[in-house]
């Protein structure tokens, strides 16, 4: 039957969307006539025209995410995201969402490591209204302790749904925490249970007043609109919002360069299907030397992307040790990021055997490289995704928003397909040699634990 669309009615599409777009982000060809400018108060604006239907996607992105949180306050960026729906003097209570619903709009918001974003999708004539309301809640939010306490309960339920009830998510959290020794990417975006429980109104407002200011935000409007219209509307709405802070430079604690293979074992009584995951420290599009991130992108697709990838072919099709296997490069991040591998054992295969086989495939990759035609195919598919993205105004808006809040630029987005085209087989092989090093990795096992006998 239809699964309940819990995620759709949510105010956050936390990890899934963040990861999806982290990998998709730079992947597009330039759309025609993208507008890009700044307002006097420092707000950056991107406009992506698409006149095929009379609809617009309006997004505001703030350069604050879970990696910007103070230690001990894990989850406060996401908590604030929830609270932004609680009203202002001009639009009190639930009137923001009531108004969006009344005009037939859809809305939501999401938080990731490096950004928090809010969006509405509405008929084009309602763009001025949602811009006015979004600009209003940039600085005029009102919170009471009572509202904050109730919403904290909602977030705790969200954490129970997304993490506590799902062993795979629990493994991912603990694996990240082990993979990052110092960097805040090791904390879950939604926060740890006991830290969420302790968050209060002051914590939320502290993030709000420090980071929610036009000079720390990016407005992205995609759809049936032209840059000049958006410029005029933005001047009348966001342009009236005064700067209220100069956010600190986004310098996070760096990872020490330890040469140590880290391991996590999660024994879970509700797990029937075991699995394993691995992450390697790699540079992101923002931190990499020129060409390296592109090479990692191609490596991720050729080695781990789908049923024709090297890893799937070897482990699933040929050696029959895995039911599934793959990998990907988590491309968009302000700081160094991760290259992921995962595998699910075939019936009767234990995780040790499976991991040994995965290690052999990585060793073979590092020693002998990939076939040139595998690399060509991967490049072609990555570049094609850029064309497919142009079919969706929402996807385009997210691509630009992700790029500009993770240290990339409009020019990099537009030149991205050419940069992928320029990747050579030697670049990809070198990326594998340079970065897939076990001493820079963490490996997590999700294993079955027989339930305790009733006492």
């Amino acid at each position: 039957m239809r699964r309940r669309p819990a995620a759709q009615c949510a105010r956050l599409a936390l990890l899934a969307v963040a990861l999806l777009f982290a990998t998709l982000a730079p992947r597009l060809a330039a759309a025609a006539d993208v507008g890009h400018f700044f307002l006097d108060n420092g707000l950056e604006v991107v406009v992506v025209p698409d006149h095929r239907s009379p609809v617009v996607t309006h997004m505001i992105w703030y350069k604050v995410g879970s990696a910007d949180e103070e230690p001990g306050k894990a989850g406060v960026a996401h908590f604030l995201e929830h609270l932004l729906f609680k009203g202002t003097p001009k639009h009190p209570g639930s009137s923001f969402s009531d108004t969006v619903a009344a005009i037939g709009g859809s809305e939501n918001a999401f938080t990731s490591y490096d950004y928090t974003a809010y969006y509405q999708r509405v008929a084009r004539e309602h763009l001025p209204l949602v811009m006015e309301m979004e600009a209003d809640r940039m600085t005029n939010l009102i919170l009471t302790d009572d509202v904050v306490a109730r919403e904290r309960d909602v977030v705790l339920e969200e954490r129970r749904s997304r993490v506590e009830n799902d062993p795979g998510s629990k493994l991912g959290e603990v694996l990240d925490a082990t993979f990052y020794l110092e960097h805040p990417y090791g904390r879950p975006v939604i926060g740890w249970m006991q830290e969420i429980e302790a968050l209060d109104r002051e914590d939320a407002l502290d993030v709000y007043t420090r980071y929610y200011t036009p000079n720390n935000a990016v407005l992205v409007v995609a759809g049936d609109v032209e840059p000049d219209e958006v410029r005029a509307l933005a001047a009348r709405t966001y342009g009236e919002v005064a700067r209220r802070a100069d956010p600190p430079p986004r310098i996070r604690r760096a990872e020490p360069d330890v040469d140590a293979e880290r391991r996590v074992l999660l024994r879970d009584p509700s797990t029937e299907q075991e699995s394993l995951r691995r992450e390697y420290h790699v540079p992101s599009y923002t931190t990499a030397e020129p060409g390296v991130a592109e090479a990692l992108d191609v490596l991720g697709e050729a080695f781990g992307g789908g049923a024709t990838s090297r890893l799937y072919r070897r482990l699933v099709v040929e050696r029959k040790l895995a039911a599934g296997a793959g990998g990907y490069y988590q491309a968009s991040a302000l700081d160094d990021t991760a290259f992921h591998l995962y595998a699910v054992p075939a019936d009767g295969v234990d995780l040790a055997t499976l991991e040994k086989a995965m290690d052999e495939e990585v060793a073979d990759l590092v020693a002998n490289g990939l076939d040139a035609d595998d690399i060509e195919r991967a490049k072609r598919n990555i570049i094609a995704e850029a064309v497919y993205a142009r079919d969706s105004q929402s996807a385009m808006a997210r691509i630009y928003g992700t790029a500009l809040t993770t240290g990339s630029t409009v020019e990099a987005v537009e030149g991205w397909a050419d940069a992928i085209r320029a990747v050579t087989p030697e670049d990809v092989d070198k990326a594998a040699r340079d970065w897939l090093r076990i001493g820079r990795s963490a490996t997590g096992w999700l294993v079955r634990q027989a339930p305790k006998e009733p006492s």
Binding site: A102, D153, R390
Partner: protein, 440 residues
Amino acid sequence: MTALPRLFLALLLACAAFSASAADIRRVESPGGIVGWLVSDDTVPLLAVKFAFTGGAAQDPDGKAGVANMVSGLLDEGAGDMDAQQFQRRAEELAIRYNFDAGRDAFYGELRTLSENIDAAVDLVRIAISSPRFDEDAVERIRGQIVSGLRGDINDPDTIASRAWMQAIFGDHPYGRPIDGTMESVARIGRDDLVAFASANFARDNLHVAAVGDISEEAFGLLLDRMFSGLPETASLRTVPQASLAARPFETVIDTDVPQTVIQFGGPGLMRHDPDFVPAYVLNHLLGGGTFTSRLYDEIREKRGLAYGVDTYLYPLDHAALFGGGVATRGERAAESLRIIREEIARIAADGPTQAELDEAKAYLKGSYPLRFDTSGKIAGQLLQIQIEELGIDYIERRNSLIDAVTIDDVRRAAGRLFADGAPYVTIVGRKAALENSGG
């Protein structure tokens, strides 16, 4: 998109009179007699094609739930003279995107391709649906993946709740079986079952097709023949009886050690062509539809912080119709959540909505309709669904006036029919002790 679809969408937004013609959507009949609906638009060099063969998982043989689903995983695992790797590599060389999916009443296919590769992409889909190989090692590989997915969900409370709820409502009817089967039923499926399903279900007389993108009407006609003319003229489907739903409401607790309790609730719904379906659709929206403004969202989440999400939906099938909903909350407050849901259902059954609520719901449903049409794939999906549901090629023009015509009496009548006895069918998955101690 050409100016024409833009025009009809613009008129939709005008909410009232739709004078746009259906000229934007072309009904194209191929030289070989296959019909498809097309919106031709060359803005982006892409083509999206969606198609469906009616039948679906309801056609699975008794005791072998999961055949249709398994077929959907195997069509690209070897076809014609290509084995799995050859097929998938070819698809990647062409950078095409495709998907096959088993629904309860139909088997769906989808293709997206860059314009430059249309013919080659169509050839690949053609052989996938007309000459799938079901090679032994591919069958075992996909079986292994399905079984590992099922194993991974054994203790997943959402899966437990939805499967148990459907089984309790439908019993032995095909709708009572999970689409992806069970570990036991999937183990029983043989190659002959897969072959039989494909040859019985993939035919021209149960086919619907919709396409949007960079192709002319004439070329689309040729595409239809190229893709589908190799299929048999007629499908041979088993007759699926009208389902008789569980006669009485139930409340079942499945004691499971999970941090958060999952509650699935609902009951009989209204068939898609029931005259009260549209009023029921409006009713569902204001009770628990997907926005942040529904009654249940307000009572459960906004006022009490009981859950992250709560929603309800209408689920009309070919041989039955359901109203459903769900919520997930910590064990100690599950009983309270369920009590509120029961009260809200009873309240709307007794009193109906207020005029203001009805107006707001209608405004949302009308205003948001164009959001379903902003990508090629979404438009194609809408056109396909309209064909499957036999709503007529002018439905997009008429749809908002159907919503507009719903009166408060219509909604009350629909509520009376949906919630006649006021007691939903409920399946609860969570810690029984926490539930019993919480009172509610």
